[in-house]
């Protein structure tokens, strides 16, 4: 089965990979290990999952304003997710990707989905993100 969703592009780019999905917001500072790409917030449902090399879907960030710095460092090291899907326009994730573009010419695709589309995402689905914000879900 394949489903197509139209998302709102925050930072354009293409990516294909397996989805890692949660409906809980995440702080990257204290929640994402920039060396290994593992989610380390022990109170988060994705605790212990490695997001590097996958497409990470979280509704939004929460908590610390250092989330941007952690994500920027993960992008530099190559331990960031392949792309980010959110349910809201998240300023922290978008900023990290824009600065990665300005500093390293390596932006990370960031796309915000409508809540009803976001709710259909599930861990393990294969996702294809297109530069115009379309997301193709295979399951």
């Amino acid at each position: 089965m394949v489903r197509m969703m139209q998302g709102h592009v925050l930072v354009p780019g293409m990516a294909t990979g397996d989805a890692l999905v949660s409906d809980e917001p995440l702080s990257f500072w204290g929640g994402y290990d920039q060396v290994t790409g593992e989610i380390i917030d022990r109170r988060h449902p994705l605790s212990g999952c490695v997001a590097a090399g996958r497409i990470l879907a979280i509704p939004a960030t929460r908590g610390s304003s250092t989330t941007t710095a952690v994500l920027l460092e993960a992008i530099r090291r190559g331990t960031a997710p392949l792309a980010l899907l959110t349910a809201r326009k998240d300023t922290f994730l978008t900023l990290a990707s824009i600065v990665a573009d300005e500093l390293y010419k390596r932006p990370l695709p960031v796309v915000a989905l409508r809540a009803e589309d976001y709710a259909k995402l599930k861990t393990g689905q294969t996702l294809r993100i297109l530069a115009d914000g379309r997301v193709i879900v295979s399951f």
Partner: protein
């Protein structure tokens, strides 16, 4: 969208105010629609959280801006850095980390920022006033500035706060605008006795609970019986900003935009209401402790940074006592407050107790602890929230007196006190 930029914004974007201002304005302009804004407004002060060293990327960003000749155009205080510049050698900090974190400190200082090195700038420098437009980073400082001081800032992420300080501009959106500052969710304390509200841990526990329940909404809390101290408000905000996304709260009868419930909601009705009961508070308090064991390696106080008033309370508690040899005792504070504490005579008692005061940074932002620190005890809800993930330790959340007692006994002592069911 370009048309809504001011003439000066456009000039900055085209490099007429130098390459650093152009880079800062480029980032700001790309972020403008993400904030849901069409234009910028002037800010008159900034607090820079980008000081935190998180690896080569944050250093390269700072040094890129510095090498392009960046200068801040508004007074800008600096948040904690990645290292206690002069004290790191006493801890477990790798020399390479210390050197890079120090270079990042130098870079931000070179831009004309004030080297306050604290997450609680409101303890020492000139405070923003009611209604003042500012751009602050550091979630616990943002929530304090918005809620307790009534200044207006969004929750600026690292990397963006410095762009605002270099250009003097911030997106005209979110909490900068009066209409977005109305309360949304009402929390009513139900049969929470005044003696509980006066307990050392109450505000941290309440903040942990409200932050979790409010999520992104602006909470309004009703039913506070005794006027909280500034340190209690600091703990309340820091806890909310850790467990939630809260950047502004209203405390009816206490905070400046909430003289009444109606004022807090700007005459609107709450989106939802929730009772806060003793059972919920007890559960939130338990949630802040992860340790199941009695053994203890470290007591850490001061997140956000310890205030002079907290030093005044701590000094007599530790006077004449000595910590257990297996338990280290660290207080994190700013240089300025540590110096004041020393002048007031509080440091002798803490030092003869075997305590250390670490400045410029905190246990979460510099790798100062050795890997054999497995259990940390603290009265800070922010340390309690983040230590398990960031440090991989277990944590015990306890009252200040219990933290001292545990350090002396060499094992966790967590008295139920007012929290007894």
């Amino acid at each position: 969208m370009d048309s809504l930029l001011s003439e000066k914004d456009r000039a900055t974007l085209h490099g007429e105010h130098g390459p650093a201002a152009r880079m800062a304005m480029t980032v700001l302009v790309r972020m403008l629609p993400v904030f849901g804004a069409e234009r910028f407004l002037d800010i008159t002060a900034a607090h820079i959280d980008s000081t935190l060293f998180q690896g080569d990327a944050t250093l390269e960003y700072a040094e890129r801006l510095a090498s392009l000749g960046a200068r801040v155009v508004v007074p800008a205080t600096l948040n904690v850095s990645g290292v206690d510049e002069h004290g790191w050698g006493a801890w477990h900090v790798p020399a390479e980390w210390a050197e890079k974190a120090r270079r990042q400190m130098v870079a931000y200082q070179s831009m004309g920022c004030t080297p306050t090195w604290t997450c609680a700038p409101y303890q020492q420098s000139e405070r923003p006033r009611l209604g003042q437009q500012i751009a602050w980073g550091e979630s616990s400082a943002v929530i304090f500035a918005n809620s307790v001081l009534g200044a207006r800032t969004e929750r600026y992420p690292d990397l963006l706060d410095i762009c605002a300080a270099i250009t003097g501009r911030a997106p005209a959106a979110g909490l900068h605008l009066e209409e977005n500052r109305a309360g949304q969710v009402l929390f009513q304390l139900r049969r929470v006795p005044q003696y509980v509200q006066e307990d050392d841990g109450f505000y941290g526990v309440l903040g942990h609970l409200v932050g979790k329940e409010a999520g992104e909404a602006i909470p309004v809390i009703e039913g506070i019986e005794a006027a909280p101290t500034e340190d209690q408000l600091k703990a309340l905000g820091a806890a909310m900003a850790s467990s939630g996304v809260v950047a502004l709260f209203h405390l009816v009868g206490v905070t400046p935009e909430a003289p009444t419930r109606e004022a807090a909601f700007q005459g609107r009705s709450p989106d939802r209401s929730m009772d806060v009961t003793m059972d919920m508070l007890r559960a939130a308090r338990r949630d802040l402790t992860t340790a199941q064991v009695e053994s203890l390696d470290l007591v850490a106080l001061g997140s956000p940074h310890f205030s002079l008033d907290e030093f005044r309370k701590l000094a007599p508690l530790v006077a004449g006592l000595r910590r257990h040899e297996d338990v280290r005792f660290v207080v994190t504070a700013s240089r300025a407050i540590k110096a004041l504490a020393a002048r007031m005579g509080y440091m002798e008692a803490i030092e003869s107790f075997g305590g250390t005061v670490t400045v410029d940074t905190c246990i979460l932002t510099t790798p100062m602890l050795s890997p054999d620190v497995r259990t940390v005890m603290t009265n800070s809800p922010k340390y309690a929230y983040y230590a398990p993930g960031l440090l991989g330790t277990q944590v015990v959340f306890g009252a200040l007196e219990d933290c001292v007692l545990s350090a002396v006994e060499g094992r966790v002592i967590q008295r139920e006190g007012v929290w007894c069911a």
